[in-house]
């Protein structure tokens, strides 16, 4: 084993390789969306666990990496760190040193680098970011009609999440308050969406018959805007050029990715050599448990793949079509969902009845019948 480490070390320090790592990091940085781009220097500093790397915003890096927010998140450092930790936990990152990092963001750039690299690989972060930030000419909506085979993976994830239960007592009314706020926010989102649909409908119907491509037939918001303000093509061009250079950087990165991964892996090896080797019996038992778990998950996955219907998933261009066929489809969907809702309500009622029976000296009052 020691000989293998020596060979890896030699590879990493091979003269021809000298330029490969900086090139990889450079390509990585250029492939990231503008605004979330660290300086390549940050990586070098992080490797040596320098605090400047942390301040330089690796913590800022990771949240915007979650590709949901294109704007800088205006929350406190503490909040940001909590968020980053929860994201990594969600994806199954198991390194305790990372979670023990202080919440004032004063140290841990090496751990951050490790976590970032892990995430990069684990969820194909770059591909996701490129997809999310690509230039869209059409109006888009994201769709998912996949069969719900997520239930298993949710279970695994919540097991990790529920490790540390709340230590202090919380008044249930406060939780109800928070739940209510969440509900209202969801309803406000609904209002937003309805408005968006309404306005899109206006634009699509006013420009119907204008598009060169007859299968589409009408303009999108961006296209309409280009007609109204022809000078905005310059901005669009800039965006496209930026996207092209990011894609080129991405291709470069893909070639050099193994070098980056080896370096990170190597630095990890260096660290783990500091630990004592586990007891051989314990080790074998652990390996056996892991093998069992993997076998189970694999068979589960095979089952689901075999039974998975081909659902739509991803972003699609919105095109305004005749409503008749859509309405009947929606009506069928509505009926199915109504049945499902009724079934779930019955289930819930049964559960509540069971619980109520168990409570002594308590009268349960249902809401007013309608």
């Amino acid at each position: 084993q020691a000989r293998r480490h020596q060979r890896a070390a030699a590879c990493g320090m091979w003269p021809g390789r000298a330029g490969a790592l900086p090139a990889a990091i450079g390509a990585l940085c250029r492939a990231l969306p503008p605004g979330s781009r660290p300086a390549p220097e940050t990586f070098r500093l992080a490797k040596f666990n320098r605090p400047e790397a942390v301040r330089a915003g690796e913590w800022h890096l990771l949240p915007s990496k979650n590709h949901l927010a294109n704007q800088p998140m205006s929350i406190s450092v503490q909040g940001r760190i909590l968020f980053v930790k929860s994201v990594l936990r969600y994806h199954g990152y198991g390194r305790p040193e990372f979670y023990q990092l202080p919440s004032d963001g004063s140290q841990g750039s090496r751990e951050l680098l490790l976590a970032f690299s892990w995430l990069l690989n684990r969820i194909n972060l770059l591909e996701q970011l490129l997809t999310a930030n690509r230039v869209k000419i059409g109006d888009e909506a994201s769709v998912c009609t996949c069969e719900d085979n997520l239930s298993n993976s949710w279970k695994d994830r919540t097991e990790i999440a529920l490790e540390r239960p709340l230590k202090r007592d919380v008044d249930v009314r406060y939780l109800q308050w928070l739940n209510g706020r969440l509900r209202f926010k969801w309803r406000s989102l609904h209002v937003d969406r309805q408005e968006q649909c309404k306005l899109l409908h206006k634009i699509h119907s006013y420009t119907s018959g204008c598009h060169m491509d007859q299968t589409i037939g009408h303009f999108s918001v961006t296209e309409t805007d280009l007609i109204r303000q022809p000078d905005s093509y310059k901005q669009l061009l800039q965006l496209l050029e930026s996207e092209t250079s990011r894609l080129e950087a991405f291709l470069e990165w893909k070639q050099l990715e193994p070098v980056y991964c080896l370096t990170v892996f190597f630095s990890l090896q260096v660290k783990s050599r500091e630990r004592t080797l586990p007891d051989e019996r314990e080790f074998c038992a652990a390996v056996r448990t892991i093998t069992e778990a993997v076998k189970l998950k694999l068979s589960d996955l095979k089952y689901h793949c075999a039974h998975k219907k081909n659902g739509m998933h991803g972003s699609y261009r919105l095109v305004f079509k005749d409503k008749r066929s859509v309405i009947s489809k929606l009506q069928m969907e509505e009926a199915t969902l109504k049945r499902e809702l009724k079934r779930l309500q019955e289930e819930c009622r049964h559960k509540l009845d069971e619980i109520a029976e168990g409570l002594v000296g308590v009268i349960c009052i249902p809401p007013i019948k309608r």
Binding site: Q176, F184, I368
Partner: protein, 453 residues
């Protein structure tokens, strides 16, 4: 952005008219005390919120008028049209040729279902005119007969047809010495049903508004019109455009959503009270000046002592000292001294709103133990003055304001019910004793929740 108002019954239609009138006259106010740009933003937001465009250029109120008789509706429609500044859509109303007797159960179980489709079609039409439907605002009296029964039914229909929209019910609490003998039954039925369907109930008490007219406005012979105009002023002071968060760059696009989120996320606590300061006759206004610290101090004490207006406030009432628990209010029949809040919203309009110190409202002693002031207290503001008041502050409060009132009404109704007085008037139309019991239970639960704050 847009709010659709549903005016229900005689009361709802008369008040609704005054509200649109107040909003429109504020729209045209030349005493905005702000920059031209600010005023234009304000006017644009106001217009989008309450009126729709028509080819004639006269703004059309986003409203549906419902009543069992034609008289009040036709008066309302013609008064609005005569103003020249705004009008109603003359198609957007529903009424019957003859009256239908003053009976809550008749309104709820017979007339409601019978005319549901027609009424909901009108509402749907108004909703479709809105690019962005912020929600519904219904106006009705609580203790009326057919009007209140129908109002409760219509609110239910709104909830069924628009499950995710925000619904705010404006209810008029009857005079304590009201004339209708069954008004307590009606009130109990209305309140409990509205509680199921709407997100919040904003209450105005006739008695309180009457006092404002008498003592603050110096009106000698107080008419319903005077009372309604005070209510309209108070409502306008809350629902005219504001910036609902610090650093917001445009007027709020979700007034109802913002209100609900700050005040009524907990489904058990939906009762809201409204206080506005200063309130006076136009003549006196010209000779009065106010300072923000003075206004805020009075408003805070109005909250703490549950005062209905800025005169006759009990300054002896204090919030409990930290470390000393609030003495348990075992029976809400005992005079409640200190009014505990769940959440409060203060709306400031006019000169120097940026400099107002609202620290007094952030005192944790004002609030129930399970919610901290950061989450419980919200501020909306605009530098644009409202309706000729150089400075104006309003308080929308989810607190124990209405606890005693509710307990009174439920108590009286229960006494009548225990002796089965007049119950046949309701069972005749399908409201059974069982239904009454459900309503009493619901309200007892609400009273208990508020009492245990």
């Amino acid at each position: 952005m847009s709010i659709v108002t549903v005016q229900l019954g005689q009361c709802g239609n008369q008040i609704g008219y005054e509200v649109f009138n107040a909003i429109c006259s504020d729209f045209h106010s030349t005493h905005g005390l702000c920059s031209k740009k600010e005023n234009e933003s304000y006017q644009e937001a106001c217009k989008e919120r309450f009126f729709s465009e028509e080819k004639t250029g006269v703004p059309v109120a986003r409203a549906v008028l419902v009543d069992m008789e034609p008289k009040v509706i036709s008066q309302t429609l013609s008064m609005a049209a005569r103003s020249g500044h705004w009008k109603y859509d003359h198609q957007s109303h529903f009424c019957q040729k003859q009256g239908s007797g003053n009976n809550w159960a008749n309104g709820y179980s017979v007339h409601g279902p019978r005319y549901r489709e027609v009424i909901m079609n009108l509402v749907q039409k108004e909703a479709e005119k809105c690019d962005r439907l912020s929600g519904f605002f219904t106006v009705m009296s609580m203790a009326g007969g057919t009007g209140s029964g129908m109002g409760a039914f219509v609110t239910q229909c709104l909830r069924d047809a628009f499950p995710t929209s925000f619904i705010l019910n404006q209810v008029i609490w009857p005079y304590g010495t009201g004339e209708v003998i069954v008004q307590n039954y009606n009130s109990v039925l209305t309140l409990s049903h509205l509680y199921q369907s709407s997100d919040a109930l904003l209450v105005h008490e006739n008695d309180a508004i009457h006092k404002i007219c008498a003592q603050l406005m110096n009106i000698k012979k107080i008419s319903f019109r005077d009372v309604n105009q005070v209510i309209a002023h108070q409502l306008g002071s809350v629902f005219q455009p504001t910036y609902s968060s610090e650093g917001a760059s445009q007027y709020s696009k979700s007034p109802l959503g913002d209100l609900m989120e700050s005040l009524v996320p907990h489904p058990e606590f939906k009762m809201l009270g409204l206080r506005n300061i200063p309130q006076m006759s136009e003549n006196s206004l010209a000779y009065s000046t106010f300072t923000w610290p003075g206004l805020i101090k009075h408003l805070r004490q109005m909250l703490i002592a549950n005062a209905k207006m800025e005169e006759g406030i009990d300054w002896q009432v204090r919030p409990p000292l930290p470390g000393h628990p609030v003495p348990p209010k075992a029976s809400p029949n005992k005079a409640l001294h200190f009014n505990t809040s769940i959440a409060n919203l203060v709306v400031l309009r006019g000169k120097d709103v940026q400099s107002v110190d609202l620290g007094g409202f952030r005192d944790p002693a004002l609030y129930t133990s399970w919610l901290n002031p950061q989450e419980a207290f919200n501020i909306w503001k605009t530098p644009r003055a409202f309706n000729k008041y150089e400075k104006s502050a309003s308080l929308v409060s989810n607190s124990q304001f209405l606890l005693k009132l509710m307990d009174n009404i439920v108590g009286k109704a229960w006494n009548m019910f225990a002796s089965k007085a007049y119950v046949h008037q309701y069972t005749k139309f399908g409201i059974e004793e069982e239904d009454f019991l459900d309503c009493f239970t619901t309200l007892e639960q609400v009273i208990s929740s508020y009492a245990s704050l």
